[in-house]
């Protein structure tokens, strides 16, 4: 497989301008002759669909929820970064670029990240114009806060509901295009297969989730904006329905999958309370701006938090990282939480938790000051745990939150299948081995509003596409595959529920391929996942029929894909015999337990090629060059 990243030559500051200038344009009158499929209506998919339709393309947009407004982006709380430097505190495009490359532990493509930082400023303008009610200062200007380890205040936010408001902005732009007839929105419709004709992506096969009808859709290009695959771990902060099916099926049709082992664990989630737990709830990272993280100094200290005097508390992040303190990046904060719990100093009933304490902040700002900043988060915490965080410290624990890996894309956001573009969390592009807070929203919207509309046009203008329709044999063959899988799932009639397989897969990955990994645990995970997959196909119990609303069937298809992706994730983690960002291989750490990269051997993106069921996936490497931000050992001391 040839990996051509198509990074423009010349200085990085000019790369995007140069690329845009060199791109072929589709004549305005011709745009309406092209059709584009967008799978997903989250920040990436909705912004892309709306922007493409505004340009005149005919768009079909798909989501599995009952409305595009419910895409998982809605749940993002904290904020979105932009290098506006409105606070005059030393921010710049270059600094955002620098922070993101460094934060990603030198495993992202410099040119992509630079472009992201450049575009960040346009995103805010666009969203404000759409009516996104960002927080404001009394003078009427936009407010900012510092977020997730940044030393400048560059995060824009709408209370604790930034993702919701950004998504509603994009959703409204999308609905405006639905009204104009340029977008056809197909909700409750799941993509289950990709059609590739003459080597190019030409359409998808979907299942109508209400009637079960399997249908083909043809287009001149296909865009996947289907989100991340964090739910491979079963318990994560993602929505219940988030899944890898769209990207996984595309992978099986030839799209390379990059860095699947780069998964992000978020340090501040509400701890697991029991077996029945269906998902984990994130407590926004912004809480770390005012909350102090601690555990008792003594092991197994069963006293309540207020009984433990200050001198007997270990504010371990402040102690170990005096300059960043509670604001160290997510991977560092998560690993430290795990370490203190492993030492037996964890809190709460399970011992898997640390305190996030607001008592100092409440003294400083008053309860009302805290309410103003985090009111809805505090309420959410109380609803879930039954405890009042204004009075007792929150208990938090790390959880799977985001996946930096995804389908490999070049600078144009095109996968290894020509005509198949991948945007948002579904691609692997900009965050390297660790994503900084408030930069996923930025990336999803950069991709959808400002990058894809150019690069997709360039592709269409240059590709000589044969006219095809859904009568093409390729569509029949993909439909047959989809139908065969449905029949197969419904005919197992075994003795275990699909959820129980999903839980077991998640548990295996969390234990063996989670916050820290080693050779033995990864080899074990691969073995266990293979056995589990075999059992799934022999013993899963999926009731009902294929021609009706059947939520068990939907879940079963997604879990079947997770059972394959999970193995690739572990294979990738095994191959990457270094620690970097969220990927912590216990074999590679500094004496004080920090991740140790190996730039000699692993300064590349790993792009995996599918080799058929049971085949050993093929590794392709895209070497990464760092010309602007020289790789250093990350230090937050």
């Amino acid at each position: 497989m040839q990996l051509d990243s198509r990074i423009p030559s010349g200085p990085i500051e000019k790369a995007w301008d140069k690329a845009r200038f060199e791109m072929k344009l589709v004549n305005p009158a011709n745009k309406r002759k092209y059709s584009v499929i967008v799978v997903g209506s989250g920040l990436a998919g909705a912004s892309a669909s709306a922007s493409l339709a505004e340009l005149g393309y005919n768009v079909k947009c798909f989501c599995f929820q009952d409305s595009p407004r419910r895409a998982h982006s809605i749940a993002a709380q904290g904020g979105i970064n932009a290098a506006k430097n409105y606070q005059n505190d030393g921010d710049s495009i270059y600094r955002l670029f620098y922070d993101t490359v460094k934060g990603g532990d030198f495993r992202a493509r410099e040119a992509n990240v630079y472009r992201l930082a450049q575009i960040s400023v346009n995103i805010i303008d666009q969203c404000v114009a759409q009516g996104v009610p960002f927080a404001r200062e009394y003078g009427g200007t936009l407010a900012n806060r510092s977020f997730g380890g940044a030393q400048v205040s560059r995060t824009f936010y709408a209370r604790g509901q930034t993702g919701q408001q950004l998504l509603l902005g994009a959703y409204q732009a999308l609905e405006r295009q639905v009204a104009s007839g340029k977008v056809k929105m197909l909700a409750r419709t799941e993509m289950l297969g990709l059609a590739v004709i003459d080597g190019r992506a030409r359409g998808i096969v979907t299942r109508d989730l209400i009637t079960g009808k399997v249908e083909s859709h043809v287009a001149d290009a296909v865009v996947l904006a289907s989100g991340g695959y964090g739910n491979v771990y079963y318990l994560s902060t993602n929505a219940k329905g988030s899944n890898c099916t769209a990207i996984w099926r595309a992978h099986k049709r030839g799209a390379a999958f990059a860095n699947p082992c780069f998964t992000q664990i978020h340090p501040t989630c509400i701890p697991v309370s029991g077996e029945y737990q269906s998902k984990l709830t994130l407590m926004s990272e912004s809480l770390r701006n005012d909350g102090r993280i601690w555990v008792p100094k003594k092991k197994g200290d069963k006293r309540t938090p207020e009984q433990i005097p200050d001198a007997e508390r270990d504010y371990y992040l402040e102690r170990r990282y005096p300059s960043f303190g509670n604001l160290v990046p997510r991977d560092v904060a998560s690993r430290n939480a795990k370490a203190v719990c492993d030492e037996g100093r964890g809190v709460g009933e399970t011992g898997l938790g640390v305190y996030l304490d607001f008592s100092d902040a409440i003294q400083r700002l008053g309860a009302d000051g805290i309410r103003e900043r985090y009111g809805n988060l505090f309420e959410m915490y109380e609803r879930i745990t039954g405890e009042d965080p204004y009075r007792v410290p929150m208990r938090i624990f790390p959880a799977i939150h985001y996946t930096m890996g995804g389908l490999w894309v070049d600078y144009h956001l095109m996968s290894t299948i020509p005509g198949l573009f991948v945007i948002g969390e579904a691609n692997f592009s900009d965050h390297g081995a660790n994503r900084l807070g408030a930069s996923a929203l930025m990336q999803g919207l950069a991709d959808g509003y400002f990058i894809l509309p150019y690069t997709l046009g360039n592709y269409l203008a240059g590709a000589k596409l044969e006219k095809v329709d859904t009568a093409h044999a390729e569509f029949r063959s993909v439909e047959n595959e989809v139908n065969a899988m449905t029949r197969r799932l419904l005919s197992i009639r075994g003795k275990r529920t699909v959820s129980s397989f999903h839980r077991e897969l998640g548990k295996t990955l969390w234990e063996d391929c989670g916050m820290s990994r080693n050779r033995a645990s990864l080899e074990g995970a691969i073995r266990k996942i293979r056995v589990l997959r075999e059992e799934f196909w022999g013993n899963a119990d999926v009731l009902g029929g294929g021609e009706e609303l059947n939520q068990a069937l939907e879940h079963a298809g997604r879990v079947a894909d997770f059972l394959e992706l999970g193995e690739l994730l572990a294979i990738d983690a095994l191959q990457r015999d270094e620690s970097c960002g969220g990927h912590f291989r216990e074999e590679h750490q500094t004496p004080d337990g920090e991740a140790l990269r190996d730039d000699e051997r692993f300064c590349y993106a790993a792009a995996w090629e599918y080799a058929g069921a049971g085949g050993q996936p093929v590794l392709n490497k895209e070497p990464l060059k760092f010309e602007y931000v020289p790789p250093t050992q990350r230090s937050y001391k």
């Binding site: 912004s47 409305s67 346009n122 666009q126 114009a129 009610p133 408001q165 409204q172 405006r176 709830t281």
Partner: protein, 257 residues
């Protein structure tokens, strides 16, 4: 704790549907309501019975996908809380709980507790946006927005589109939902150019989609999981009257008045 559930079972849109009784045993107080149903569904599956269909996604109270009636109250007994965030510690041993889907002409039942809320999307299509195409925006700080206006806009924009307001309303009106979007955009300078056209379009669409008329009963506000205030309806009505007067010709043509 042990509970008795009476759940509306309806195979599809044409099935008449009926209540079916289930016993939920050993329910843990820390579970969410939907986790309790997950457990019930796993038990039903293992017994070879069709699990109960219900919608959910984020399970954090923000996507608006979940929602049904519990003993006649949309989203159940806890104020300001969606069913996915409602926890079993709110209930007690022996409780009898009746679960039914949203009931409204504009929200036909698809299966069990799942309804079709696409009418809400159509109301947004009728004007619930600001027409600003990608790339044409001025600098974010070019137009100042007073903090109180931004805050009021945010209060209204917090609506999650779950449909509880419609389900709770004896008239099955969509006034709280529609008013929330109209108020959000009307509070902001960016929303002014299309303000009156927007209210006419959205209100007309709500009628077309078979939602009833608002008679200011206030049930919607009481069940709204985001506590969207009734004021948004008053604001919508003010704008509607103003718009109808100023644009009476258009209104007569479109039949919105």
């Amino acid at each position: 704790m042990n509970l008795t559930l009476h759940i509306w079972r309806q195979k599809n849109a044409s099935d008449p549907g009926r209540m079916v009784r289930y016993e939920a045993k050993n329910v843990n107080a820390d579970m969410s309501f939907l986790e309790m149903l997950d457990v019930l569904n796993e038990e039903l599956t293992l017994k070879g019975e069709d699990p109960v269909a219900f919608d959910s996604d984020c399970r954090e109270g923000i996507c608006g996908m979940c929602g049904f009636m519990i003993n006649g109250v949309a989203h159940g007994p806890q104020r300001g809380t969606t069913v996915c965030q409602l926890h079993m510690r709110r209930f007690k041993e022996g409780d009898q709980l009746h679960l039914e889907p949203w009931r409204a002409r504009a929200f036909p039942v698809i299966k069990d507790l799942v309804v079709d809320r696409s009418a809400f999307d159509r109301i947004i299509q009728a004007g619930g946006f600001i027409s600003v195409s990608t790339g044409s925006a001025p600098d974010g700080n070019a137009i100042l927005v007073p903090k109180p206006a931004a805050d009021l806009a945010m209060d209204a924009a917090a609506c999650i589109g779950c449909g509880a307001c419609v389900a709770a309303c004896p008239n099955a009106a969509a006034a709280l939902f529609t008013g929330a979007k109209i108020t959000h955009l009307a509070k902001l300078p960016q929303g002014q150019p299309e303000r009156y056209q927007r209210v006419l379009g959205m209100v007309a669409q709500a009628r077309q989609d078979l939602f009833g008329s608002c008679t200011n009963i206030g049930e919607c506000e009481a069940v709204c999981p985001k506590a969207i205030p009734l004021d948004v309806i008053a604001g919508m009505n003010r704008d509607f009257i103003k718009a109808s007067w100023e644009r009476r010709e258009e209104v007569i043509e479109k039949g919105a008045g």
